[in-house]
């Protein structure tokens, strides 16, 4: 005798084999299938025939997969656009931070060091000063790393686990960036390092939050 639950388990397996793997989407399709089977049974069909009709009406796994794939591609594209928009906004903010906060601090520290060591303050040549400012403003790009990381999390290349695992390497990388991109002393290195590392930690936290939310959604759908 036909067993509906077995039939549905087999149907789900076929769907997974064809590439529809998201549990939430599968649960929703299964609910639809059961609703349609109930409807056909109420109309007088046997459960087996009702199930066959419902599966046929729902559509074959291949065409469903292509529709879900289109949806996933659209989602990825949206995330990339959002990442780009957020990246540009953040770039402007960071530019302002570097120019109005970090650069004066670096110049003041440089003057203080010169004074402390008994040298006369550095006399900047316009060309040299512009080169220094350009290098300094290049740090803006370093602040874009979290945006890049979160966009990669959203499109499925990175996840919370990988980001947490990479923390120790990122601390070293951020310290190196702090040393290379600023004046060669510890204070500006730390001024650079702290926001970079904080942004990384925020990225890891956001990735973790997204993962928890996704798990919660899947658990609610089960």
């Amino acid at each position: 005798m036909f067993n509906l639950d077995q039939g549905i388990t087999e149907w789900r397996r076929q769907m997974v084999d064809e590439g529809i793997k998201a549990p939430e989407a599968l649960n929703e399709l299964e609910t639809h299938l059961r609703d349609d089977v109930d409807h056909h049974v109420r109309c007088g069909l046997s459960t087996e025939v009702a199930f066959e009709r419902a599966v046929q009406q729902l559509g074959n796994a291949n065409s469903l997969k292509s529709e879900f794939a289109k949806m996933a591609a659209l989602k990825r594209r949206n995330y990339l656009y959002r990442g780009l928009g957020f990246g540009i906004a953040l770039c402007l903010l960071e530019g302002a931070f570097c120019y109005f906060a970090l650069l004066p601090a670096a110049l003041a520290t440089s003057r203080a060091y010169s004074h402390w060591l008994g040298f006369s303050p550095v006399q900047w040549e316009p060309k040299e000063y512009l080169r220094f400012v350009k290098q300094f403003m290049g740090t803006v790009l370093a602040f874009e790393i979290p945006v890049l990381l979160l966009t990669l999390v959203k499109v499925g290349v990175l996840n919370y686990h990988l980001l947490s695992k990479a923390r120790k390497y990122v601390v070293v990388a951020n310290l190196i960036l702090g040393a290379v991109l600023t004046t060669p002393e510890v204070i500006t290195q730390l001024i650079m390092f702290l926001p970079l590392q904080s942004l990384y930690e925020v990225s890891v936290w956001i990735a973790g939050y997204w993962e928890r939310q996704a798990k919660k959604r899947t658990a609610t759908a089960d």
């Binding site: 609910t31 059961r34 349609d36 065409s63 529709e67 949806m71 659209l74 949206n78 759908a221 089960d222």
Partner: protein
């Protein structure tokens, strides 16, 4: 009873979002119920492949037009209910204007031809 030719699939595809938004503007609903309602209202002229509705619903949710929640119905079974959001109402208003404009163009044209 008047029996119009089956509506072409391109037109069905174009009308899917406004249909869903219009139905959800009346109240919360779920995929199967939406399909049955469209079948009933169109006297079976609009035929959706049932499974294709869900990627559309997910896309609309992603755009922020609709939201969803899982509700336990019976025997531990759960069903995903959709409802319209503020942005969805705005999108519906825009789509309604577009379809009304098209409708009035065709009505005017065909009225002239048949009088």
């Amino acid at each position: 009873m008047y029996n119009a030719a089956m509506i072409e699939k391109e037109l069905v595809a174009a009308s899917t979002e406004p249909l869903i938004l219009s139905l959800l503007s009346k109240g919360e609903s779920y995929g199967y119920e939406l399909i049955q309602e469209v079948k009933r209202l169109s006297a079976d002229e609009i035929k959706w492949t049932d499974g294709m509705l869900y990627p559309v619903l997910h896309r609309m949710e992603d755009r922020g037009w609709i939201k969803s929640r899982w509700v336990e119905i019976e025997n531990g079974r759960k069903r995903k209910y959709y409802s319209i959001k503020k942005d969805g109402h705005q999108a519906l208003k825009k789509k309604r204007e577009q379809w009304t404009a098209l409708n009035s163009v065709f009505s005017g044209l065909w009225k002239e031809q048949y009088v």
